[in-house]
Amino acid sequence: MNLTVRMMLRKIQKRKFSIILSAFIIAWAMAMMVTGIYSSGVIRTSANAYLDETGLPDISISLFEGVDPQQVQTLMTDPAIKTYEFRLRMDGHAIVDGKEISVQLIGLKDPFRTDINRLLLLDGRMFSEKMEAVAVSGGQVLGDHAKVLINSVALNLNITGTVRSPEFLINDLPTSSFIPGSGGLTILYLPLETLQSSIGPVINDILIMSDNNASKSEVISGLSSLPISSTILREDQQTSVIVQMGADKMMVMLPSISLVFIFIGLVSTFMTIYRLVLSDSRSIGVLMSLGITRKHIATSYLMFGVVTLSLGAILGCILGYAFTYTISNMALGMMGAIPIVMGFDLLPFLIGLSLATLVVVVAVIIPITIVLRHDVHDALSFVPRNRIWAWRTNLRSLSLALGLRNLFREPSRTIIFLVIIALSIGAAGSWMFMVDSAQGYLEEQSSANKWDVKISFNGPMSDIQAISHFASDPVKSAIPFSTLVGQASLGDNSQGVFLLAASDIVGIRSFLLRQGELDFQGAVLAKKMADNLGARPGESITFAVGNRSLPIEVTGIVDDIQGNAIYTSNDQVLDIIGEGSCTGVFIVLDSSEQARSYSSSLSGDPLVGSIVLKDDTVTTLRGMFDSSMSLLYAFFALNLMIALAVAISATIISTSERDMEYTTVISLGLPRSFQVKALVYEVGAQAMISALLAVPFAFLLAQVFTSLLEDAVFYIPVVLSLATVITVLVIGFLFISISIIWPLRRIKRIDFVKVLRERISS
C-alpha cells in the first residue's frame, strides 16, 4: 500500500469519532432529502393504488331531491361511463348514551360490489336483511342496535359490522374543515329498499366510474337535466385531497429542512478537516520536502472526504429508506390504514447523494487548498496556533473565568459553532413553532365561526320558512345558507370548490382579508384557491355544478384553512339554488352553552337532516391534530439528535486541543471538581447562548417552512408563543449540555504522563 495512504488511514483511525460525527450529520441531511422526495412518491403511489383497487368513484353526484332511478338510468348512455351506482343518501338522528347524534344513511343495492366504492369489512358481517346496516369506521359506536329517525320515521336497525369505504377513508375530519370531510360522522350503509320504503322509490346520489379524465365533463353534461347539488371529481374528493396534501407536505418540508442540515454538515465537516490539515501542516511540509507532489498530498487528504462521504452515504441511504418507510407508513396510517407500496425509486437517492458529495468535496477541498498554498519552508516552520484570545475579567472564580475564556479562546470558530448549533436547534425548534402555530390557527379558524349550531336540511326549503321555523327562543339569530360543491375555473385552471352562500356571511364568521374587500356581492375566495386559479380581485371566475354554471366576480381573498372555499351571497347563485331557498341554517344562540340542549330540542324534527355544534368541530380538530402530534414531535426529537451531534462535534474540536492544559491541572494535584466546574461553565454558556440564538432561528425557519407549505397545504401564520420559546430554550439548552460528556470522558481517560513526556520530547 502507498505509504501516504497508509499514513492517512492511521490518521483516520485516530480521528474516527470526529469523522463519524461529520458523516452522521451529512447522512442526516441526505436522509431528509431522500425521505422528502421518496415518501412523497410512496404516499402518492400507495394511495393511488389503494384508491384504484377499492374503486374510488371518478365522479360523485348529489341531487337536491330524490329522483326516479329509471329516469336516471335513461341518462347513463355516455359510452365513457364504465360503471355506476345509484344510492339514496339521507340524514337522520340516533340517540346514543342519551345524546342525540347525527347519522348519515346511505342505501345501496349491492354491498359486495368490487368495481365501484368497494366496502372492506373490518369486523362482523355485511348486511343481508332489510333492517340491517353496517357502520363506517371512524364514526360514533352505535352498538348492535340503533333507532334512527329520518323525517319522523323510525328505523330499528341491527348493526352487523364495520366497514372501511374509500369515499370516507378519512372519516375523522370535521365538516367545515379545510377540506369537506365527513367529520367523524356516523355513516351507515344499508339496503336501498329499506330507505326507499321510508322515503319513496327514489335515489339522490350517483357514483360513476368513467373511462378517462377528458370524458368526465361530458358525463356530467349528460346528466344536466337532474337537480344536481354537487359534483365531486375524484381528484377533489376528500380522500384524494388529503393524500395529495400529505404527499406535497413531505415533498416541500423535508427537502427544505435537508438544506438547513446540508449547510450545518458543510460547516461541521469543514471545521473538522480544517483543524486536521492545519495541525498536520508540519507533516505536510515534511512530505513536500521529501519531494511528494502537492497533488499527491491533496489526494491522500481527500481520503478523509472519501471516508466521510462513504460513511455518510451508506448511513444516509439506510436512514433515508427507514425514514421513508416509517413516515410514509405513519402518514398512510393516518389517512385510513392505506397499505404501503414501497416501490424502488433511485432518483431520491441520487439527488441526496449528489448533494452529500457536493458538501463533502467543498468542505474538504477548501482547507486542503489553504494549507497546500504554503511553500516547503513555510509549511515546515508552521507552528499550530498557540495564541488564543482571552479577556481580563474580575470574576472571583478561576473555574468560571477559565470556562468562559475557553469558550471564546478562538472567537471566530466559537461564533461559527454557536451559529451552527443554534441553527440545528432552530431547525428542530421550528417544528415546535409550526405545531403550536398550526394548532392555534386551526382553533382560531374554528373559533372564527360566529354560529353555535349548524343545521343541514334533508332537502332545500325557503329562507322564510327556515327562519320562522328555527328563530324561536333561545335563538338570537338564524341565518339561512346553501352549500354547493362543484368546480371553479378561470382560464385553463380549474379546481373542485366548496361554495357557501348566505344572505349574512359576516354574521356567520369573521375573516382575515388578504386582498380586495369583504364584498359578498361578489365571491370572496380562500387564498389557496385564488392562487391555484390565478384569480385576483376584479377578475371573474366560473362556478359550475353539474351542467349549470355561472360567472362570479372575485371581490376579495381571505386567509382560510378551508383552502377551496368560496363565500358569496345567495343572490349570486340564484340560478342554481333557486330564489329564496336554502339547504341549511346557522343558528346563533344567546349563549354557546345552550348549543347542546338546543340541538337536543331539535330531536325528531322532520326538517332537520344533520346538526353540527361549533364546539364539536373544535374538539374534532383538536383530536385530529393530536393524532398527528406524535409525528411532529418525532421530527422534533430526531432533529434534536442532529443538534446534539453538532454540539458534540463542536465540543470535540474545541476541547481536544487542550490536553496539555488538562495535564497541567492534573499534575498540579488540583481537585477534579475544578476541571468539571470549568467545563460546566464553558458548555453551559455555549448551551445558553446557542439556545438563545436558536429561538430566532426557529422562528425564522418556521416562517420559511410555512411559507413553503402555504403552496402545498395551507397557510399558517407563525406565532411567537412564550410556551414554545421556553420549550426551545430549555430543550435546546439540555441537549447541547449533554455534549459535556465527551470532554469529561477525555479528562478521565487522559494519560497525563504520556502528554507530559510528549511535550518534553517535542
Binding site: S667, L670, P671
Partner: protein
Amino acid sequence: MSYLSVETVTKSFKNGDETTTVLAGLNLSMGRGEIIMVMGPSGSGKTTLINVIGGIERPDSGRIVLDGTEVTAMDNRMLNDYRRNDIGFVFQFYNLIPNLTAQENVMLALEGHDLDWTEKSGRAIRQLELVNILDKKDRFPQELSAGQQQRVALARALVKQPKLILADEPTGNLDEATETKVIGILAQVREELGTSFIIVSHNSRLRAHVDRCYELRKGVLVEN
C-alpha cells in the same frame, strides 16, 4: 533521618517486546532546604525520577518517603493531594494555562486549599513580587517572554509553600541572562523559605548554585 529518602527505586518501560529499565534500584537522600541537581544524557531517566518522586508516576518497586510520609504507599487520591500540597513542579515548557493571567496561574495552585479569594490573591501577589514579576500580573502567558513565563511557573510552584520543588530543565528554554535571574531567584527562595529543590538539567552552569550534583547513569545516581 533524611527529609527525602528514595530507596532502591526501580522503574521500567515496555516498548513493544523490549523492556527498558530507567531506574535500577536508585537511592537518594536529601535534607530539608537542600538543592540537589541531577544531570544525565537524554533518555537517562531524569524526568522519570522527578515524576516518581512527585507522585506523577509510580515506581515498579522501592520506597519513597518525604518528611516521614511514605509516598509509594499512597493511593491515587492521596497522590493527588500530595501533588497539590507537598510538591511544586516547574516544567521545562512552564505549562502555564494560556487563558489565565500570570496572577491567576499562580492562584491556580491554591485551588482546593481552604483559602478565600482575597487570601489566594494576596499570596499570589507576594510570590510574583518574590520572583520579581509583579508588574506583569495581569498579563496572559502569550504576552510574556520565556523567562517571565518561567518566573510565573516558579511562583506557581512556590505559592503553596511545598515541601519539595521538582524542576525539570527550568533553564532549558532560557537565554543566559534570564537563566542567571532564575537561578538567583531559586537561591533567594531557598534562603528565605528554606525550600528543598531537586533540579533536573543538562546545564552545567547550574552546578555552582546547588549543594550536591548527581549524574544519573544506568539507572542509579552517581555523585558528581
